[in-house]
């Protein structure tokens, strides 16, 4: 049984190539669109998700961190008074900063001010310089992906202006993508206050780390009860809120989702049509087998074996191509993220699509017209 399934599949190389091409194309299409979606989520939530904080204190009603509203640092002391809080720091994320490039043109930036000693909310994927370099007054760190195009910066030591204040580039990150395309500029909390013209006791957020073993949800709930006019959210909650805002609150997010859903639908249709056609091409052989006394189960096993084999081969090729595309995309500002979860989901989806499509085609074989096998 397995013999006829495998030999049928590999006998006609052109047909096999056409079948596999169809499935591979749909896998790549689906992987890329869903990868763009994941890249979009990553770009819109990275500033929060990569913060290494357990909890955030934000102004009430904040839908996304770029919308932070200042509050005074009195809240910081209340937070620090809780025995389950291991560390709490002031934090700033703001879209309200303009950088002037060396050529004199302006560019909006996402200013991130963090406490250099807190180990929270700082840059990640640092390729040049270090967090310690940000101790220097006016020091900033920018991302390589945006540095030249958006800020006109090509090397460490160059100077730009942020909100008409001098800023010296002391290091680079790589891959800190921002959904709004306003490049992230990391600096110390004090520098950020200075760039934004805030008073020394003003902050946009508090980030904190709980003591090891502490019940984070209980701590969040307790702090929320104690602090007025603000919300206390876990990092996960804020990531969710951030993601929901950018995904559903902006037209761009909906567009990406629609494209991803369409890609899945197109992928399903392509795979279904391809496998169906490949199965129907052998319908006469299945009819003959049935005439010879093969049960429907026997035919199902042959056809499903072929479908699963086709799916497996196409998946390996398709996911490999998708990973290459993903790798290339990471060199640019539009990241296509193909992680293992997406790869696993696509594997299941591909095999499922192949089997479903072949089962639909099998019905033609199992409801055979006897004249078909007797006709020349």
């Amino acid at each position: 049984m397995a013999s006829i399934a495998i030999k049928n599949l590999f006998h006609e190389k052109v047909r096999l190539a056409v079948t596999l091409t169809g499935i591979v194309f749909s896998i790549i299409l689906t992987a890329v669109q869903l990868g763009i979606f994941l890249g979009f989520i990553e770009a819109s939530t990275g500033i929060v998700g990569q913060s290494k904080a357990d909890l955030w204190v934000v102004s009430r009603g904040v839908t996304h961190v770029e919308q932070g509203v200042e509050f005074n640092e009195g809240k910081l002391y209340k937070v620090l008074a809780d025995p389950d809080v291991a560390a709490a720091k002031n934090h700033i994320v703001s879209l309200g900063a303009q950088a002037k490039k060396p050529d004199g043109s302006d560019e909006g930036v996402t200013l991130v001010g963090f406490d250099l000693d807190g180990g929270m909310g700082g840059p990640w994927n640092i390729t040049q310089g270090s967090v310690a370099d940000l101790e220097i007054p006016d020091a900033v760190m920018v991302d390589e992906l945006y540095a030249e195009n958006k800020l006109g910066v090509t090397k460490v030591g160059q100077v730009i202006e942020i909100n008409k204040r001098r800023a010296r580039v002391v290091g680079f990150t790589r891959g800190v993508r921002i959904f709004t395309s306003q490049p992230a500029v990391f600096t110390s909390f004090k520098n950020a206050q200075s760039f934004l013209g805030l008073n020394e006791d003003q902050s946009f957020f508090l980030v904190m780390r709980a003591r090891e073993g502490a019940d984070i949800e209980a701590l969040r709930s307790r702090l929320a009860g104690e602090l007025k006019d603000v919300e206390v959210l876990t990092t996960g909650q804020l990531v969710y809120r951030q993601g929901m805002y950018w995904v559903f609150g902006t037209g761009a997010g909906i567009t990406v989702i629609v494209a991803a859903v369409l890609a899945i639908i197109v992928g399903v249709v392509i795979v279904a049509q391809t496998i169906y056609a490949a199965t129907v091409d052998h319908i006469r052989e299945y009819g003959t087998l049935k005439a010879m006394g093969a049960t429907n189960g026997y035919l199902y096993r042959i056809i499903l074996t072929q479908a699963v084999l086709s799916g497996l081969i196409a998946y390996v090729v398709g996911i490999a191509a998708s990973l290459v595309i993903s790798r290339v995309s990471l060199e640019g500002t539009l990241a296509i993220i193909v992680n293992w979860q997406l790869a696993a989901a696509l594997f299941v989806l591909t095999i499922l699509m192949c089997c479903t499509a072949s089962i639909v085609a099998i019905r033609k074989a199992t409801s055979i017209d006897p004249a078909m096998v007797f006709r020349g």
């Binding site: 006394g293 006897p370 007797f374």
Partner: protein, 244 residues
């Protein structure tokens, strides 16, 4: 002679009411073991429908069709494959070989359906192909075989399950004269020496003399029956003439 197939009052209707099409009407027919029977008739006369019902591929609308005494009319679609597997071997006009499989593998498939696998299946398939004169073509694909060779592979495949009944649909229609003779010789041998019931649907007048009996179907009814024709000393099978 022992009856292999007994058909009584068999009818097949497609559709219903005013649009009903009567493919077969009240057919009575018995085919005995050891008999080679030809089934003839114009296109659309009901030959294929009758063979399909006798081959347990198609269900009759009414009447009876017994295979070695076992009633098959009324059996479910789940039960019919087992009856086919146990009793019937098919030979098709277009051979219906699996192009991706070698001659031996084509025969092995039929053995696989019977649960014979591995080295035993290989040996048995080789024996069957040897028997139909294709011992040197075990590894050949259908595309590399002539029409006559393909039909002989099909016969070997039909015999793999050791069926007691062979149903052949236009077994010589796609063959040249020489190949036709070889195939009909094999079918005749199966009937007369192996005690199989062989029913061949045909339009081919060249093979009439092989028949122990010829049954004509006309408009879904048995028309006339003819006993074995005498072998005439005139060429009736293309250029090579009738086997003497």
């Amino acid at each position: 002679m022992k009856p292999a197939i007994e058909v009584k009052g068999l009818s097949k209707t497609y559709g219903s009411g005013e649009t009903a099409v009567y493919a077969l009407r009240e057919i009575d027919l018995t085919v005995n073991a050891g008999e080679l029977m030809l089934l003839m008739g114009a296109s659309g006369s009901g030959k294929t429908t009758l063979v399909s019902i006798m081959g347990c591929i198609l269900s009759a609308s009414s009447g009876s069709c017994k295979i070695y005494g076992k009633e098959t009319v009324g059996l479910s679609q789940r039960e019919l494959p087992a009856v086919r597997l146990e009793n019937i071997g098919f030979i098709f006009q277009a051979f219906n070989l699996f192009p991706a499989l070698t001659a031996r593998e084509n025969v092995e498939i039929a053995l696989d359906l019977k649960g014979v696998r591995g080295s035993m299946a290989k040996r048995r398939a080789a024996e069957l192909l040897e028997r139909v004169g294709l011992g040197s073509k075990l590894g050949s694909y259908p595309a590399d075989l002539s029409g006559g060779q393909k039909q002989r592979v099909a016969i070997a495949r039909a015999l793999a399950g050791e069926p007691r009944i062979i149903l052949a649909d236009e077994p010589t229609a796609a063959l040249d004269s020489e190949s036709g003779v070889v195939v009909m010789d094999l079918l005749q041998e199966l009937a007369h020496e192996k005690d199989r019931a062989v029913i061949a649907v045909t339009h081919d007048n060249r093979i009439l003399h092989y028949a122990d009996r010829t049954v004509h179907i006309e408009d879904g009814r048995i028309g006339r029956e003819e006993a074995a024709m005498p072998v005439l000393p005139v060429p009736t099978f293309g250029s090579i003439g009738v086997r003497q």
